[in-house]
Symmetry: C2
Subunit: 251 residues, 2 copies
């Protein structure tokens, strides 16, 4: 069934912080202002899961009611599902028709720069792009579950409107990062900043005498003076919008 002029758009929403993350419910609420929304989220947190997907193990789906449901929205969780699993299983088993958009987030934490590679939030948006559906991942630069999403609500609405009018090209999705603790100064289209995590590991000894390691990464911006990168504009209080390609061939 195709979308027709007198229907509201259908938007699939997922994230990587799980059904319990406040950022997911902000994204659902803002999207439900103009669209029919189906929310299919991981049951458990899936941060750092990139585009990983499950093809050897069973996936179980539950319809659930979150703490503050938005009227008319249906919510599902996928047991042990990654963000990519949520998109795939929604498209192929849950949705009444092909959605007009796939949105992911709002993530609790940055997915700017090289983080796009590791991000489960962006894994879901890329999966939408692979399917040829206009898609975007939204992330706030604040890890706390108590992060304040309200300061950027108005600009996120603007970006959604712009994405509806001018959706990304086939095979491309948007990586939208939002500065924390400020009313954003504006929106900048830019490219991903070059950088990496210099990953020291901390070494520990467990109660049984066995050593283990935990990642203690620190982000290294390899081009702090480049004025066309997401990190540059985020540091100056702007929302960054980077078009991200699911074709990784170097040109």
């Amino acid at each position: 069934m195709e979308n027709t002029a007198n229907e509201r758009p259908l938007v699939l929403i997922t994230n990587d912080d799980s059904i319990n993350a406040p950022g997911l419910h902000v994204l659902v609420r803002l999207t439900a202002e103009w669209a029919d929304v189906v929310c299919v989220a991981p049951k458990y947190p899936q941060s750092g899961k990139s585009s990983s997907m499950t093809f050897m193990d069973p996936l179980r789906i539950d319809e659930v009611v979150p703490a503050e449901p938005v009227e008319g929205v249906r919510y599902y969780t996928v047991d042990d599902g990654t963000p990519v699993d949520c998109v795939k299983i929604a498209l192929y088993t849950l949705l009444p028709r092909r959605p007009d958009f796939v949105f992911s987030g709002i993530n609790h934490g940055s997915n700017a720069g090289v983080n796009v590679l590791y991000s489960g939030t962006m894994g879901a948006a890329l999966e939408g792009a692979v399917e040829g559906i206009p898609s975007a991942g939204f992330s706030l630069l604040h890890h706390s579950m108590a992060a304040d999403f309200s300061l950027s609500e108005s600009l996120v609405r603007d970006i959604m409107g712009e994405t509806r009018r001018d959706p990304p090209a086939a095979g491309v999705c948007l990586n939208i990062n939002i500065p924390a603790r400020v009313v954003p100064a504006g929106v900048r289209r830019c490219r991903a900043c070059r950088g990496r995590w210099s990953d020291g590991y901390e070494r520990y000894t467990d109660p049984h005498g066995r050593e283990f390691y935990m990642l203690a990464g620190r982000f290294i911006n390899e081009e702090p003076d480049a004025t066309d990168t997401d990190e540059y504009w985020l540091a100056r209080g702007y929302i960054s919008v980077v078009p991200v390609s699911c074709d990784m061939t170097a040109r």
Copy 2:
């Protein structure tokens, strides 16, 4: 400590099929012909794990001796580690110096076309590229653990030699796919074919009466007639070499 002229190169080797996969040991053996090799592999299979990484859980390392060790090579496993975890923990805790190359594979199964997005093998190679180390992922188009790697050994040696002489640019790694069951007709540099997995899911009922789903994907080649793609040349018996960028910004 930097590499000097009278030293053999140092190569870090990992994979996503785990320390027990025959393809890993083929890659170690061929590389050890010209380099010092340290092998740091996942303890358990990590197919489809993309660039996912572990940052909330402990990682445990064991030095191990595989069934047919190559003399002079040290082998380690990382408990619950993804391919990216193996590269990171090797670089930051295990290796005596920065390696000259990061190789991943030889994967049991194709990573051509859109598979690069989901591939743990390529996640490891991309991590090398993020670190600025010349890197490559190798994959044979055969899923069986009994796959025959011998038909392509000579050309894999050639590709390694070429990669030493002309390493990929910073931020770029190579995605090398090898046809199965034939002596490859040659090597072609190409781009990733556009396509996707049309993911039907099979529905089952478990012994407790609960439904679950399992992925039953079928690859759809969206440009079967394009003569510059990896899928095109693989289907004609050639090894494909695609340069893959860790910067996913769409241009």
